[in-house]
Symmetry: C2
Subunit: 116 residues, 2 copies
Amino acid sequence: MSIAADLIRGHTDAIILAQLIAEDSYGYKINNTIKEATDNRYELKEATLYTAFRRLEQSGCISSYWGDGEGGARRRYYSITKRGTETYLNLVNEWKQANEIINKLIYSERAEETDK
Amino acid sequence: MSIAADLIRGHTDAIILAQLIAEDSYGYKINNTIKEATDNRYELKEATLYTAFRRLEQSGCISSYWGDGEGGARRRYYSITKRGTETYLNLVNEWKQANEIINKLIYSERAEETDK
DNA sequence: GGCAATACCTTGACAGGCGAGGTACTTCAC
DNA sequence: GTGAAGTACCTCGCCTGTCAAGGTATTGCC
């Protein structure tokens, strides 16, 4: 995994919620989806993932129910709530702003030349 | 200040180094530059800033010297080292990748519709 | 039976951010 | 001359999110 987690820190919730907006899902699957989507350049560590689930459920952004795993262990499915959807939209918005800010601050004119 | 710090966490070093590539500078000024550049939407808290200076100096990315403040307290200036420049370029590169990854993961097709 | 894959969970340590507090110097108004 | 406001630096201790390491349970296959 090549990307420092600290760079993505703070976006974990948004990433999870984005998955759940598409459809109800469970930890193991979300994790794999993320790995595939990024060509194994990034993954949510299990501990991080499950910590995030607790956090999101506690704040009413998601709810969970047990489903059965076809050919595997039982799964705990999560669905996104109304509050979760709102939160998601806010997080996306914050990301847009943060993105803009970082892009403005991280590039130095002098560095641009050096970079070429 | 509207942007959650966690979203920018991990970029602090890159932001500081970007300033120092342009020219030698000192804490107070860097802080103000950042505030202005972002229309007060973001600032590095002092504690964060000085912690970062220690960290960067310890790892050989920057070096410091005392200058005098014209009409104010004395200033500790920092300059970026060769290692600092290298580190900076790496961080920029990592940021590009992280940016790409977050953009890929944070948007859900379903959400795109909702967002419109 | 044993292994791999699926699937979930907890504990404890660590690092970075930052609120709160402090120091010291200069300038300017009263 | 004194008090406030601006410049400038610094430290302590808490909080939060990440994650290595460890664990559990189920199924399918050889």
